[in-house]
C-alpha cells in the first residue's frame, strides 16, 4: 500500500511536466484566421513538419548523434577489451585520465574548442559536434563495454583464437555478437548524453547546421507559438524514448566507477 502510493507520487512528479507538454502540443495556442485558440488537433505537428528549418535541425541532430555513437563504440571497444583482459603499464593512469575528461565541465573547454575547430573547418558541421561529444561519451562507453567484456569468460577468446580468428575478425565475428547488450547500453548512454547536450552544440553551430536543441530555442520570439514549441519538444523526445524501449532489459546493467 505504502509502496504503491510512493510509486504513484514518483510517477506524478516525473510525468507531470511531460503531460503538460503533450497536452499543449495538441492545442492551438496562437489563434489564426481559421483556427480559434484552444482547438485540439494535430496542427502544431503539421506546422513543425512544414517548416524546413526544423526538419533540417532534426536531421542535423540525428547525423551528429549517430556519428558520435558509432565513433565512440568503434574507439572504445578495443580500449575496453585491453582493460578487461590485460594489465599494462599505466592502465590505472589511463582510467584516471578518462575519468578526468568525463568530469571536465564543457563550459571550461567551450572557448578553445571553438577556436581549434574553426581552424580545422569543423564549425557548423555535424562532424565537429560528433567529435567533441566524445569527450564525455568515450569514457562512459569504455566503462560500460569493459564491464560487459569482463563478464565473458577468457576461454571464449581462446576458443576463437584456436578457430583461427584473431584481430578484427575476432572482434567482428565473436566478441561483438557476444556483448551485443553491452553495445546497446553503451550506445544508449552515448546517445542520451549527446542528444541533450547544449553547450558545445550551441558554440559550434554559429550560422548553420543547427541541432534540434538550438532550433527549439530559436522558436521563442515576441509572439511565441508555444504549442508548436511543445510539438517540436515532443518530437525531440521520440528517439530517446525509442532508445529507452530498446535497451529496457539491459538498462539495469548501468556502469560503475573505474579508476
Amino acid at each position: 500500500m505504502m509502496r504503491g502510493l510512493a510509486l504513484l507520487a514518483l510517477a506524478g512528479f516525473i510525468l507531470l511536466p511531460l503531460v503538460q507538454a503533450v497536452i499543449l502540443s495538441f492545442t492551438a495556442t496562437l489563434p489564426t484566421d481559421t483556427l480559434a485558440k484552444g482547438t485540439i488537433g494535430l496542427m502544431n505537428y503539421r506546422n513543425v513538419l512544414a517548416t524546413p528549418d526544423l526538419r533540417a535541425a532534426m536531421l542535423n541532430s540525428a547525423i551528429y548523434v549517430s556519428l558520435n555513437v558509432a565513433l565512440c563504440i568503434a574507439v572504445a571497444l578495443p580500449a575496453a577489451y585491453a582493460l578487461a583482459r590485460t594489465r599494462f603499464t599505466g592502465d590505472r593512469h589511463f582510467l584516471m585520465l578518462i575519468l578526468v575528461f568525463r568530469v571536465t565541465p564543457p563550459v571550461v573547454l567551450s572557448l578553445p574548442i571553438f577556436i581549434l575547430f574553426s581552424r580545422f573547418g569543423l564549425v557548423n558541421s555535424p562532424v565537429g559536434i560528433a567529435l567533441v561529444h566524445c569527450l564525455f561519451n568515450l569514457p562512459v562507453a569504455i566503462w560500460i563495454l569493459e564491464s560487459f567484456i569482463r563478464a565473458v569468460p577468457r576461454e571464449f577468446d581462446e576458443t576463437a583464437y584456436l578457430d583461427g580468428h584473431s584481430g578484427p575478425s575476432f572482434f567482428l565475428r565473436h566478441l561483438i555478437p557476444q556483448i551485443a547488450p553491452g553495445i546497446g547500453v553503451a550506445a544508449f548512454f552515448c546517445f542520451i548524453f549527446s542528444w541533450v547536450e547544449v553547450v558545445f552544440a550551441r558554440i559550434l553551430t554559429v550560422t548553420g547546421g543547427k541541432p534540434i536543441t538550438m532550433a527549439i530555442q530559436a522558436m521563442f520570439s515576441f509572439q511565441t507559438d508555444i504549442g508548436k514549441v511543445m510539438a517540436m519538444t515532443c518530437l525531440s523526445l521520440l528517439p530517446g524514448v525509442a532508445m529507452i524501449w530498446f535497451v529496457r532489459r539491459h538498462l539495469a546493467r548501468g556502469f560503475t566507477l573505474r579508476a
Binding site: L18, F94, V103, T233, V241, G254, T256
Partner: protein
Amino acid sequence: MRPHDNRAWFLVTPALLLLALVGGLPLLAVLNYGFHDIFTLTDVHWVGVDWFADILGSERFLASLGRSLLFSTLALAIQVPLGIAVALLLLGYGRHAVWGLMPVALPLVVPWNMIPMLWLGLIQPETGLLGPGLAAIGFDWKFTGWHTWVLILVVDTWHWLGLVVVLAYAGLSAIPPAYRQAAAIDGASRWAVFRHIELPRITGALAIVFLLRFVDSFMIYTEAFAINAGGPQDATRFLTLELGEEIKGFSYGQAAARATLYFLIVLAVVWAFVAATRERET
C-alpha cells in the same frame, strides 16, 4: 589474474588520440589563455597571474563558490538517498521493475534547454497545471531567493533522479539472492540488510553517481540561467553564470583564467574522492 601485456597500448591508442584532440589540446589552450590579456586573436599580451589574483581576491567569486558548493551539497543530499530509495522500491517488483525504470529514465532524454522551459510552463500562474495552486500558496520564484533555490533543486532532481535510480538499481540487482536469504535466516532487520549487505556492494555504482552528480550540479548553467539568470539579487548566481557573463563580454583572458580555476576545483574533488575510494578498497 589478468596477464601483463604492454601490447595493449595499441588497443588504447585510438581512444587516447581522440581524447587528446578534443580534451587535451583545448585544456592546454585554456591554461595558456589564462595568463594573457586577449583583445583579438592577434593582439594578445602576457599578464602573468593577474587574472587569477583578481578572481581569487574578489568577494563575488567567493560568494558564488559558496553558493555552488551549497547547491551541489543539497543536490547530492536529496538525489542520492532518494534515488537509492526508489531503486530499492523497484527492486521489490522483480522483473516488473523495468516498467518503473523506463519512466524515471525519461527526463534524461529531454534536451537540457527544454527542461527549464517545461517547468516554467508547468508553474506559470495562469496556464500551468501547477500554476494556480502555487500562486495561491504564495510561491514566488522570481523575487524570493529561496523559492528560486527550491525550484532549481526540484528541476535538477527531476532531471537527474533517473540516472541515480538506474545506476543504483544496477548495483542492487547484481547482488546474489543468497546474501539476502542468509540475512533473512539470521533475522536481520531491513536497515541492517541495507547497511551491511546492500550498501557495501553498490559503492562502485554510487561512486560514479556521486562524481557525475557533483560535477554536473557544481557546474549547473542551462537550468539556472533559464530559470532566473542568477537572480533575484544574485541569490542563485552560481560559478558558471559568472563565467558565462565573461565569455559573453568577450573578456576571454579572464574567462580562461576562471575556467582553469573551476577545472582545478573539480579536479581536486575528483582526486580526493578517488584516493578515498582506493584507500577503502585496499
